[in-house]
Amino acid sequence: MQFDPPKATASDEQLLPLVDIILMLLIFFMLAGTLVASDPLQVNPPDSASETHVNERELVVVLGQNGELAFDGEVLDRQTFELVLKERVASAPEAQFWLKADAQADSNDVIVVMELLREAGVERLELLTLQKTDQENP
């Protein structure tokens, strides 16, 4: 009666709370996080005080820090970009486009891309930003 028989199986049973917590964490990350395909360019978007939320993002034009363009998961030069863009606009004329530009990119490059998109026939365009954290003003 002095030896404790349950101890022999305890190693397994002690793992159960651990498994519980891990499952809980797993479910949390599955539900709370969003899985998004990573961009071909490293981009740190600017932050803004805008209150417009964005959920689904399909047609995203990425503009890198030094003016590199990427669309549809590929880095493109300007000519190819215009061609690809024209095809996409022709197949979906009313589509909403998003522009994801680096915070350090030249503003004029961003405006050039805006003009490019407009020439290609894009009617609806939004600039993607992150929610503003407390920071200094311009």
């Binding site: 891990i22 899985l35 030249d106 503003s107 405006i111 050039v112 930003t129 992150l130 929610q131």
Partner: protein, 142 residues
């Protein structure tokens, strides 16, 4: 009694080892690490660019227009350079005269996007609604 106890204990142990908890934990751990690394919690916001883009080509000249230039080291309003405190004051004054004042924002070559976006934010918080982004004529393009 002493002989019965070990046999009764041995059975559940053998049944559990048939499935095995350790592989389950391994798989769950791997899934957990995958979701931790792959998911992101960024809070995305958007600024509508459609209207300013469309308006940028046809800025009416005769109408009352406030032109703001963002320079590398400051700003100008209608050509006169200005400090940040004067900026708020002047823009509010102009907006008080005309609620529908069209504001044209022209960032200088090399001004990072963050400053332009912050300026747009600031103007919008002052109550401006008609904001147009215009390219610097000297900008070379991509």
């Amino acid at each position: 009694m002493a002989a019965a106890t070990p046999t009764r204990l041995a059975r559940p142990r053998r049944r559990r080892s048939l499935i095995g908890l350790t592989p389950l934990i391994d798989v769950v751990f791997i899934l957990l690490i995958f979701f931790m690394l792959a998911s992101n919690f960024l809070r995305w916001r958007a600024i509508d660019l459609s209207a300013p883009v469309r308006a940028a080509a046809t800025v009416p000249v005769e109408q009352d227009v406030l032109k703001i230039e963002i320079l590398m080291d400051g700003m100008t309003i209608d050509g006169a350079s200005i400090t940040m405190t004067q900026f708020d004051q002047q823009v509010s004054d102009r907006l008080a005269q005309d609620r529908d004042l069209t504001i044209v924002i022209q960032p200088d070559v090399g001004v990072p996007l963050q400053r332009t976006v912050s300026t747009l934010d600031r103007l919008r918080s002052l109550g401006a609604s008609k904001l147009n982004l215009v390219r610097d004529p000297q900008a070379a393009g991509l």
